[in-house]
Amino acid sequence: MNFRSWLLPAVAAIGIAFPARGQSWLLRFNAAAQRVQFRGVSADSVPDSLVTVTSTAGPESPDGFAANCSGNDFCYFFRPGPVLTGIPASAGVDMSLWGLGVQGLSVRVSARVYGDLSGSHAFPGTSPPFNLLEGYAEYLRDGLTVQAGRMLERGRLASVGTSGIDGMRATWRNHGDALEVGGYAGWGFARGTILTVTSPAVDPLADFQPATRQIVVGTVASLHLPRVDLSTEYRREIDPVTDYIVAERAAVTAQVRLDTHLHLVTGADYDIAQALLGSGEASLAYTGRDVWVTLGARHYRPFFDLWTVWGVFSPVPYNGVTGTVTVNPAKQLQLSANGEWFRYDNAAAGTPAVTLEDRGWRWGVSGTFTPRPSWTIGVSGHGELTPGASSEGADVRASWRPRDRLELSAEGGSLERPLELRFQDAGVRYAGGSADFHAGERWRLGVSVDRYWESRDRPDAASFDWNQWRVSGRVSVTLRSSADRWLPPARPAGTAP
């Protein structure tokens, strides 16, 4: 951990310990832990002289595992791996400070510590042990917002919560608030995490790794009209050592309110560096009183930074059409269905030796029954018949809220998941329950216990069954200064307090 990682938390802590006149703060602690297990495979080999060839399953190891013999002296196969148990745990703090003597100035810090109580670090994401997610100062004045420090980004080109920069951002809104323009610059992070590209945690397989962080610059312009919200973004990431482009993209998103009940949402991004259309989608939504319908289309193309070679393998996009419909046939009943059909562009890499699906579809149905305000019963089913892997399953869940602050739930379901490229039909059934308790706005507690029964069906000895208990607990507490007093509970206008 470097000096910068400590600086803002230290400043914030001092600020709380020695509050200035009029200082206000919001502090939220949270902690969570869960026990999970999973079981993979373990590669093994056997001299080809020991392999027997059966009439139905091909080469087999002496103990019955299907083996792959490639013409050298050994055949390879995979045994069921050991059951791995992990108890990942995290504790975080989110803090906002304002009223620091300069009107419009505030400070925000969010940090987390991670660990694995089992010591195994089997579950991903538990290292490094400390991560400063946010730590920035913000100044607002007359439509101008300036932020400096480590901040999370938002927008089409940067996912909320998993993308950020160490740098500065400035945004200006005009007086009527219709136009918003801004820009940012700083050092970026690896894709999908608030860790730098130089962190060992993002390179577990010792692949090529950049030696320095990329420099990020970007602009955002938004227009907000009564019927239209339009936003455009441009973002460029540069390797500071070579001065080469790591990524260069632009995006546009729009929401058009055609009518009170009819909305069109559309957006697309363009990979300038590779001169390719990225992902895009358009969705037309009808929102009636008891009927909601959505029709849409989407185009998905994976995106890779240019300091990996993956982009040159020409991943092909797929195009799909989507639809959802939800109806309320009765006051206590809601039914919903959704579906998507998609097809990959021609990969231009097919061979007679291997036949692969290039299209697929998904479906889902669900029903929610609320016999009483304190009871909710939900049933759902889903299916994915897609290239590579498919799944079908059903779930049921019942929730009971005996008090406003307490919710008890029980759920269960089953799932079948065949793979296309490997002999393995995985099945899982599960049942469990959870309890969530909100002690006012301040304390939130939750605990869940689930039992999973899993099986991996194969025609050889590699099939296995295994079961596990999954247990999780979470707690959060929010503290505030008196200057930002607790809000009164909301109630309908006209009812007695």
Binding site: P124, A349, L487
Partner: protein, 486 residues
Amino acid sequence: MTRRALGIGFIVTTSIAAVASASVRQQQPHFDHAQHAKLFVACATCHPGAGHTGSPMFPTAAACASCHDGIAVRRIAWQPPVLPRVSNLRFDHLQHAAARRQRGDTGQRCTDCHADAGAGWMLVRPPRAPQCVACHTRNTGTHLSLPDSACATCHVPLARATALPGARVAHFPAPPSHQAPDFMLAAGHGAQAKRTVGLVRVAQSCATCHARDFCASCHVNAPETVTIQALEPDPRSLLVPHVLKAPANHASSDFERRHGSLALKSVASCRSCHTQESCLTCHRAELPGPVKLLYAAGPGRGPGARTTRRAPSSHTPGWPARHGPVASASMRSCTSCHARQECLTCHKPDPASRGSYHPAAFLTRHPADAYSRASSCTDCHNTGQFCQSCHQQSGLTAKRTLLGAAGYHDGNRQFFLGHGQAARQALESCVSCHVERDCLTCHSVVRGRSFNPHGPGFDPVQMLKKNPQLCIACHGTSIPTRRTSP
């Protein structure tokens, strides 16, 4: 023993007597007029004050005791009332009588108001409003249908009717005018309260039933409103039944979307009922401009309208799966109700939390979702930190023995020879187990077997221009420069 018993009996008896005495003093015995009908021939015998200035309105205890002496007739505990009259009427017998005389009405009798027409002698009762109204309007109106400016003619303000019990205040009838559709608006009761009819301010009539406390329970701008401050305070006014109804425009389907611009145009209207706190029910993240012009809740200011946080019409079922593009297009709309922390509940993967984004059993299901990207995994998960590290633990990563390890994809024995299509369709899944050097074993000019990996859409010129390092990795310094792939 006997003395002691006597002492105890004395104390008990004395205590009971004292309590009973106090009770009698507090509960004025009801005078049965009809029972005394044969004794009195004129009202003024007992109520001289109704006709003569300076005379008492009620008989003294001594006057009653002249008969109720305890010998001929039992003694009674009568005392003339000393407390304020239990009424909110602005009525003076002498003034009323004088006014009638001025109009030449000399035949006035007490029973005109205190008895039903044709009732027997001393079958009296308190006067009723319809009687007053019948005379004063010549039978053209009823009590509650009189103009709102007329109440103060007969009634004192509630705050002055100090003896009126709360139970009676709670049952004050509402005039029909109060039921008008726009009565709750500023153009309704607000404008009415500011009007003057002749020399009479309507607000004086409002004060018959209402006091400052009543108005302040809805009007959070009561401390700044002259009309309300002109009323006297009286907590009994809160007992008058009242419901703070939202104006009709609040019920329109697009009110949530339009209320911001409406507030900009007429924030004064909003701050009649809303404090900043009622906006904070939804606007938790940042305060829009008009909200800052509202009053903050605090001592001396009523709670006003309380708002309920509800989802806008766009948040239909399935919204969580569709909100991404909308959030990108209009993040400001989102931030007006949602604090960043709410977004980060899902958009900040935490290995220690039981996921709320993915459905149950997702660990088993995820290959199907990931292979064809039901949603973009890499938006939230780093391939190396999340996918590769877990697959590494599970024995699912390649270990530089590609040819042998090809046995993993045993769904098709020839997969190794025909993996190109699968790779181009789901390269992100490949990357979750394989690293670059796995592929460059074959797909590299300088370190591999020169199998060309480039496919549809590949633009070598563009790639070379943006980042020649990529080209060098496989081609060394002999980078082909023609536009088509080598």
